[in-house]
């Protein structure tokens, strides 16, 4: 490999290099990190954020943002627990469609529209649950279970969603349009792309993915809680950004987002193993997010 292609490889996989270094440092300080069971745990912990972040990737690539994914996840899980899992998925996609409609046809900035949905979806979760956690049914509980002793389903689901996301982004017209819309909405419009209708689908997908993440979370816990997944939207955005996507749109990849979600999970797990007090963990995570974004911005210069 020539110097140029090595450099190109490194610049496209900066997040991956960061993940490996992070894992190495933690492993050196606490060998128990490399324990197979622990690594599986990391994967399971990453799954919920990753699935949510894959949906967020569509939105960010298309130049938007979705603050409502945490609330949608909670609402979908709650509806799933009170009725049935698939109904939860449907509700999530519907919430996303409403986001999309407010943004494309109501011309609201995505930040505002999804901020409103964050509140509405969380409020509905509280209303439906009457403030109480509700047990999930067998189907949803199965989503959080292990297929075999060392084969957790959430991990497999994460990989499946990863594949689907990559496929949508690179192999479908909807995906190609996301890059065009995020890169230059006006040029996309003048090329005959129905920007408004595509945005509907993009936000609906984000809602659907958030709902799936919510069901996996509820499945793992065996119950849907009224305050579940609160603040997860920020982790999802962080994962997407650590993965190298640009919040100004047009740039982002499924692999990047997967790595971003793993970075967050490895970090949390490592900090626990190293017995860093939880209050300090938040500080460290914040610093890492800033560092990742900083490195990315330096690399692009």
């Amino acid at each position: 490999m020539s110097t140029i292609s090595i450099r190109k490889y490194a610049s496209e996989n900066g997040a991956l290099a960061g993940l490996l270094v992070l894992a190495l440092v933690i492993a050196l300080m606490q060998p128990a990190f490399l324990n197979a069971q622990n690594l599986l745990n990391v994967g399971v912990q990453a799954a919920v954020i990753a699935i949510m972040a894959f949906g967020m990737t569509f939105v960010v690539v298309a130049g938007g943002i979705d603050l409502s994914v945490g609330s949608i996840a909670a609402l979908a899980a709650m509806v799933g627990a009170l009725t049935a899992g698939p109904v939860g998925l449907l509700v999530g996609a519907l919430c996303g469609l409403v986001n999309g409609a407010l943004i494309s046809y109501g011309k609201l900035p995505p930040f505002i529209a999804t901020l409103a949905m964050l509140s509405v979806a969380r409020g509905l979760t509280l209303v439906f649950s009457e403030g109480q956690p509700h047990e999930t049914d067998e189907l949803v509980t199965f989503l959080g279970s292990n297929l075999a002793p060392s084969l957790p389903l959430p991990l497999l689901l994460m990989l499946a969603f990863f594949g689907v996301t990559g496929l949508i982004l690179t192999r479908t017209n909807l995906g190609r349009r996301m890059y065009a819309i995020g890169g230059n909405e006006e040029a996309a419009k003048l090329s005959g792309i129905d920007v408004r209708r595509n945005k509907l689908w993009i936000y609906a997908l984000s809602g659907l993915f958030a709902a799936a993440a919510g069901l996996v979370l509820a499945g793992r816990l065996g119950s849907a809680g009224p305050q579940a997944a609160a603040g997860y939207e920020l982790d999802a955005i962080a994962a997407v950004v650590i993965g190298g996507a640009s919040l100004s749109g047009g740039v982002g990849r499924a692999t990047g987002t997967l790595v971003g979600a793993l970075v967050l999970a490895v970090l949390r797990n490592g900090l626990n193993l190293l017995q860093v007090p939880p209050f300090w963990q938040q500080v460290v995570i914040g610093v890492v997010i800033a560092l990742a974004a900083l490195l990315d911005s330096l690399r692009r210069r």
Partner: protein, 469 residues
């Protein structure tokens, strides 16, 4: 000699490409030194090296301390006043607060230097682009700048504004300022240049004196003889393909009727603000309109519907390449396939990229291409869709001579295949040279139509005419 800046053997690489290759350049006090070259020849890179924005890999530069660059994108703060912009970054202060009185006192003197008569308290955003440019020049002069580099300043100016700028440049030259002037307009060069350094492929290929002919400049620039600047190959017109009938949007354009036949190029000339772009956008369905009809090949189009217009066989290359034409974050290939996503054909895409002679690979980010090559990508995405009628809005703005001729050849090829072209252009020689008929617009109406061979005077006479309300 009184050289203010002496650059010798400047070489600069970007990755594997050599952007500058051993360029020498002297800038003397009291001269206008023109940098001429096609897009991608290395002018901007040279300017950036001189200004210290880019480093250089080899060569020496002496005396670049007092240099200011006026870029095409102006570095002004729209919400601040003229005076505040003039002293941005070094506002006069008293007791730690901004000394407005001092600022107002010094501003007029600076504005006089560039012959600008505006209220120092006016907000910059309320001024025209030409005035904003002058403010930036004035700001540079306040810092005792001895070398002023103007990077395509006239690209955004009207003819009168350009005249004004050239006068100011001549005045600054008389005051012993060294000026570096970049422009694609050869007539401007003939009016102000003392020396012309021609760049091609990152090398300096010649230094010309003030009396160089346009022919000589062009040939040095493209590195081969150019037979004809406007190689229009006329076709016998066929059936009408585009019919705009009585198109009206209140307050913008009124009762515009234009017909374009198969094999024909119809030009739309007019002053800036005459409503040409607005009509083009409305016809293509980007914007709506109040009355009238647009029909392609006899089929009327629904209003305000780009998808339907494309389906019917209409295409539009918009005037603002970066803002409306390209997805700069994407690759050449991704830009080319934008219109034809539903009907993708890798082989045709590569065919077209080859035919357009786009310098650069299909996988290359489009932002790395020069202006001319970027414009070819925008046109290429429409060629892939093979429209019956293509509307070109200022297709050669900011495009170098070589690429211009290639774009004209593409127009010829389209009409030879029985397609039609509607050419909106502010470049009078171009719109006259490449059109079979020229429709002149003034104040949102069609002021008249001229046959092939009309003169610039005839076009201007129609363009400036007052139309009774």
């Amino acid at each position: 000699m009184n050289a203010l800046i002496t650059a010798r053997g400047i070489t600069k690489h970007f990755g594997a490409t050599k952007a500058l290759d051993g360029v020498d350049l002297d800038i003397n006090a009291g001269e206008v030194h023109v940098l001429l070259g096609e897009n991608g020849a290395g002018k901007s890179t040279l300017v950036k090296v001189l200004a210290g924005i880019h480093g250089h890999d080899a060569g020496t530069i002496e005396g670049r301390a007092s240099l200011a660059v006026i870029h095409q994108e102006l570095a002004l703060v729209p919400e601040l006043s003229v005076a505040e912009n003039l002293f941005l970054n070094r506002l006069p202060r008293r007791f730690g607060f901004v000394d407005r009185a001092e600022m107002r006192r010094r501003a007029p003197e600076l504005l006089r230097k560039v012959g600008l008569n505006v209220d120092p308290d006016a907000k910059v955003k309320d001024l025209g682009i030409a005035q904003q440019q002058m403010i930036e020049i004035a700001r540079a002069l306040d810092k005792d700048t001895s070398v002023l580099i103007l990077d395509e300043p006239t690209a955004v100016l009207t003819d009168t504004e350009t005249d004004r700028l050239l006068e100011i440049m001549a005045q600054l030259r008389d005051n012993r300022v060294g000026l570096v002037f970049i422009t694609h307009h050869l007539d401007e060069i003939q009016r102000v240049a003392d020396r012309i350094t021609v760049l091609r492929d990152g090398r300096s290929v010649g230094v010309l004196g003030p009396r160089a002919t346009t022919q000589h400049m062009i040939e040095l620039m493209v590195g081969r003889p150019i037979d004809e600047q406007y190689p229009r190959a006329r076709q016998r017109p066929g059936a009408p393909l585009l019919h705009i009938q009585g198109l009206t949007r209140r307050g913008v354009f009124e009762d515009v009727t234009i017909e374009v036949h198969a094999g024909e190029v119809v030009g739309i000339a007019g002053l800036v603000g005459a409503g040409r772009t607005e009509v083009a956008r409305a016809a293509f369905g980007v914007d709506g309109y109040d009355h009238g009809t647009v029909a392609v090949d006899g089929k009327p189009l629904p209003r305000h519907n780009v998808q339907a217009a494309i389906k019917a066989g209409l295409g539009l290359v918009p005037e603002d390449r970066k803002g409306q034409g390209l997805v700069l974050t994407a690759t050449v290939g991704q830009n080319l396939e934008l219109v034809t996503l539903d009907d993708r054909d890798e082989k045709r895409l590569h065919d077209i990229a080859g035919k357009l002679r786009i310098k650069g690979r299909v996988e290359q980010p489009v932002k790395e291409l020069s202006g001319g090559n970027q414009q070819k990508v925008v046109i290429g995405k429409w060629l892939l869709a093979d429209p019956k009628v293509l509307i070109l809005d200022e297709p050669t703005r900011g495009v170098d001579v070589g690429a211009k001729v290639e774009i004209y050849e593409l127009i010829n090829r389209m009409t030879a295949q029985g397609r039609a072209v509607l050419l909106v252009s502010s470049d009078l020689p171009e719109v006259i040279g490449m059109s079979d008929r020229v429709v002149v617009m003034a104040h949102g109406r069609v002021a008249g139509e001229l046959p092939k061979g009309a003169t610039q005077d005839q076009v201007m006479a129609l363009a400036v005419q007052e139309i009774p309300a």
